[in-house]
């Protein structure tokens, strides 16, 4: 084990999470063609710092910390793309409950919705605020626990939880609005 080259060890740890690293960068990068640059820089930084990684701890969380710092740093160099961010969820409970019922019945034909919203879904995700988007991606796509998210982003666990919650609410509101727009859902079913 001691004789094993560090590069091989580093690459063995990186290989199973390489797609996660790439798609996270792709969703968080401001510039459209920016993900490869971010990944390159993040990986080379991680490799330089690899001596500080404690064996048998969570490599994915460690790598994501570096990745996220790289994203913060490099995003400043490019213009932000995409439209305005999603509005705050409005908390008219009655309207929300009504819409929820309609939404649930719509979800009984998820294939149809999936087809229609495939790309819109990603666009909606891209319009979430940075905090909400990163917490949702880390939780839902990458399987981090709230505790791990709190460590990776250096925020309290309760904050991580509420970002995920709010991201889900906003996404659903947005998708419901899209479905109405597309005639899949009547405004007050």
């Amino acid at each position: 084990m001691a004789q094993r080259p560090a590069a091989a060890e580093f690459l063995d740890l990186l290989e199973p999470i390489r797609n996660s690293v790439y798609r996270y960068a792709a969703r968080m990068a401001w510039g459209d063609d920016h993900a490869s640059d971010i990944v390159q820089e993040a990986v080379m930084t991680a490799w330089r710092e690899f001596g500080r990684f404690e064996a048998n701890t969570n490599f994915k969380a460690w790598m994501f910390r570096i990745l996220i710092n790289t994203i913060y740093r490099l995003n400043k160099r490019v213009a932000r793309h995409g439209g305005p961010q999603l509005d705050e969820v409005h908390h008219d409970l009655h309207a929300t409950m009504e819409r929820e019922e309609a939404w649930s019945s719509l979800m009984e034909q998820p294939e149809r919705l999936r087809e229609m919203l495939d790309d819109r879904l990603v666009a909606s995700l891209d319009r979430l605020g940075t905090d909400e988007r990163q917490c949702l991606l880390l939780r839902m796509l990458e399987g981090f626990s709230y505790k791990e998210i709190s460590a990776v982003l250096d925020i309290p666990m309760g904050t991580a939880m509420s970002h995920v919650h709010r991201a889900r609410l906003k996404l659903r509101e947005e998708l419901a609005a899209l479905a109405v727009e597309n005639g899949l859902l009547r405004e007050s079913a």
């Binding site: 390489r18 798609r23 640059d37 490799w47 019922e101 979800m107 796509l141 939880m161 919650h165």
Partner: protein
């Protein structure tokens, strides 16, 4: 538990982040309450849709090969961890780091294509950055689904010879560069994934459109662009290009 409370805890419930007692209470409520059950299921569907959609995105194979190569190479060359270098662009940074690690400070890092075609084609490439023949063959096939044929019939009876290949940044995109020779002229074939073509710098994209399927001259160099399967390549040489073009074949016969 009432509906409002159940829904308040929906997100952490779906994430399996609630303590046992609460999870149990919500489970009980869902068994009894159909609207909530449907509502929770709907949310799970959205999660699944999003996960499905986003999981389709994966690291381009050429980028992974390149990263692996650079990590291995930097360890090999330096024997110790490479120092941080401040540079303006991430791509430049990567190669600046390698360049410093290589100990060769007289030459500029040659791996970044600068848009100077004559220089790009005729420069001499340090042999230590070159891949072995077996690596070239494997990279062509695995990353781009191509093979390179030097059979005389495929190259219009010209004696095309592969001098070497390496990973480069073509504009900002990872690419495999083949250096070949024919009739004493150098030629460069720069191959990347078609899916990355839209991310090339604007200048290269303009040239790409102009040179697609036909020769265009830049700095006295002929340039042509073509695609095979998932791969796209630029061929540049003072030599005429038909024979060279035909040397690129689909990998699987």
């Amino acid at each position: 538990m009432d509906c409002q409370t159940a829904r308040k805890w929906m997100s952490p419930y779906l994430d399996s982040e609630l303590e046992t007692a609460k999870t149990f209470e919500i489970g009980e409520h869902l068994r009894a309450c159909e609207p909530c059950r449907r509502r929770f299921d709907a949310e799970r569907h959205v999660d699944d849709m999003l996960r499905d959609r986003l999981s389709r995105e994966s690291m381009p194979p050429a980028l992974w090969h390149q990263l692996r190569k650079e990590v291995n190479r930097s360890e090999l060359l330096s024997g110790f961890r490479i120092p941080a270098v401040i540079a303006t662009a991430a791509g430049i940074m990567l190669f600046a780091v390698l360049y410093m690690a290589s100990g060769d400070r007289s030459a500029k890092p040659s791996e970044v294509f600068t848009g100077q075609w004559a220089h790009y084609v005729n420069q001499s490439v340090p042999s230590e950055s070159m891949l072995s023949d077996a690596e070239i063959e494997k990279a062509l096939l695995d990353d781009y689904g191509l093979r390179f044929s030097t059979a005389r019939e495929d190259t219009h009876r010209h004696p095309v010879k592969v001098m070497g290949g390496r990973y480069v940044l073509f504009g900002s995109q990872p690419a495999l560069e083949l250096r070949v020779k024919c009739c004493g002229k150098d030629a460069v074939i720069t191959t990347f994934l078609r899916s990355n073509a839209g991310k090339l710098p604007r200048g290269i994209q303009e040239l790409e459109r102009e040179a697609f399927g036909k020769d265009v001259k830049r700095d006295g160099v002929n340039i042509r662009v073509n695609t095979v399967g998932e791969a796209e390549f630029f061929i540049a040489s003072e030599h005429y290009l038909d024979g060279l073009m035909d040397a690129i074949q689909p990998g699987k016969a």
